[in-house]
Symmetry: C2
Subunit: 343 residues, 2 copies
């Protein structure tokens, strides 16, 4: 094993205010020379690649990813060889890395986590889902940013998506909250209520502005909401803010309604509302929990999956060539649960 | 001592979108019968009455204070008689109570704090300032909501006011931060820099919108601000939000620019800015700190005054008849530091 064939996804064209798709990416072949593996490095063969909304911002003109550069995202796979003390051959790994089928990486210089104790190869996609970035986002955002108390009411947008579906399930089944979701279309609403166990689900396609969404929220939560987990932005944020009860809090995690715009909408709030109510709005990303600095993410999520509290829903695409189509599906609403590309 | 003469401020007319003044209030005389003091009650003679912006919202049509009702706010004075186990004759007290020169109250049914160990009668105004609501607002908002770290930069609006001046002084002299204030006019800016020790002060009257204020902030804090203590609202909030550094936070305490409007302006923010930066916006009022539930407010503030870290600035009015004029001064920018009515 000194030279292994590999395929990598590159950015071919920036996408500013349109839905990105196959035209924005290209796949190039290369050889990975594993003979001169350096101290601290490992060889990883990817078994799955993740498809996540957060990549959208990077491929705008002026974004962090330039045309001609390899795409970087979350992958999971197997360690083929290791010169790193924490890793050994055949370990199962999740990592932020190039979207390459085979690559050399230094796990100390990126975010990498060992899932060998939690999954087998057939469940390796968990390492980019419930045991990866989306899982740690749901975990940290719900437990440490929103801090739910039993009996409180939470509103979760993007409820059929990778993060939202887990937020709602943990809130409902572990934290005993009343859970209201929102997503697009009756089919997803059915999934959210029947499979993920949400108490209510609002089809946001049936409303057209902040006040209408607020009215829908009021129907299912007449006394207002204690928490809002923000994945969507726009009218969702405004309606949730105006529906917040005393001591209400908003965890800002994403805003997928804004990602295909050149510039994000500015949203309207009256901050005076927050004073006597001790309300809070807080942004976050998963790093502290995914890296293990905060909480006990891998163990807790694994236990909750085992206990049946979290049901994993995946939309699976086959082959690296289909990654761009899978990515496109995030913005056309075609994917349900976690979008995964199997290699 | 069975019947004592008293004067009380009543709301005479609501004020919706104008600056309130003498026409909105009336003072009525009455007798307080102290002979039948019940268990748990005390007789208090007020020595000072506070003049605070938060009262503004209560006297709008539909506000918590109806025309014909006695005004309630922060007063400080002396206990004349007591049937409450925690209080004795001649104790010095701060309390939320009627704006009455003499009254019977049950300290367990309101917010009341004992300042006998901290002030003498000649400094009783501290109990409605540095050792009262404004002090505990500055204390709790800075220490527990903003949580300053040495070397960080804080922006404080209303910097010449009762709360803002203390926030800046504690941030500068106790927490070793770089402190930027904003207030109206060169005279106040001079006070803020020379007496309160702020590093910089922006005269907001020299700017007319969010972008101009943001540009002024950038001149004195080219790398942005870590914290914003919000007393003012409007363009101040928007400019501060857009100037926030990673891990930046905003403590929302007031919005005096909005108080004389029928409805508060909705302000524009892009919440997506908060995600990767872990930014936070949080509202609060002083109750947890003033009531002693959180922190060690009275002792800490007393020590900081004694150590010269906090300089007390007061605009003093004489006599209950001048309370309405003093209140008016809050909105015309005439008062500096804490506005106090001495009786």
């Amino acid at each position: 094993m000194t030279s292994l064939p590999s395929k990598t996804i590159y950015l071919k064209a920036a996408a500013d205010n349109s839905i990105p798709g196959p035209d924005n990416f290209e796949i190039r072949e290369s050889k990975v020379n594993t003979a001169d593996l350096k101290e601290g490095e490992i060889v990883v063969t990817a078994l799955v690649m993740s498809v996540d909304p957060f990549l959208r911002g990077q491929i705008k003109t002026g974004g962090s990813k330039k045309v001609g550069e390899a795409m970087v995202g979350f992958v999971a796979g197997k360690v083929l060889a290791s010169k790193h003390t924490d890793w050994k051959e055949n370990d199962l790994i999740g990592a932020s890395a190039n979207f390459s089928t085979v690559q050399i990486l230094n796990p100390s210089k990126t975010i990498a986590w060992n899932v060998t104790d939690y999954v087998t190869e057939d469940k390796i996609s968990y390492a980019i889902g419930v045991l990866g970035m989306p899982g740690s986002t749901a975990y940290g955002g719900l437990l440490d940013v929103l801090r739910p108390e039993e009996g409180q009411t939470i509103f979760v947008s993007g409820a059929a998506g990778a993060v939202g579906s887990m937020v709602g399930q943990i809130a409902k089944r572990v934290k005993k909250c009343t859970v209201i979701g929102s997503c697009g279309g009756p089919e997803k609403c059915k999934l959210v209520k029947e499979k993920f166990g949400f108490d209510h689900c609002i089809d946001y396609k049936t409303v057209s502005n902040t006040q209408e969404l607020k009215a829908e929220l009021k129907k299912v939560a007449p006394g207002g909401i204690d928490m809002y987990f923000e994945n969507v932005g726009g009218m969702h944020f405004e309606a949730a803010f105006e529906s917040l009860r005393p001591h209400g809090r908003i965890a800002v995690c994403g805003g997928i309604s804004q990602y295909n715009k050149t510039e994000s909408d500015k949203l309207k709030i009256n901050p005076l509302q927050m004073i006597y109510t001790f309300q809070r709005i807080e942004g976050f990303v998963c790093i502290p929990w995914l890296s293990g600095k905060k909480g006990n993410f891998l163990k807790d999520m694994y236990d909750w999956v085992e206990a049946g509290h979290i049901t994993v829903e995946e939309t699976v695409f086959e082959g690296i060539e289909n990654w761009p189509v899978a990515f496109q599906g995030l913005f056309t609403g075609k994917n349900k649960g976690k979008a995964v590309v199997k290699l």
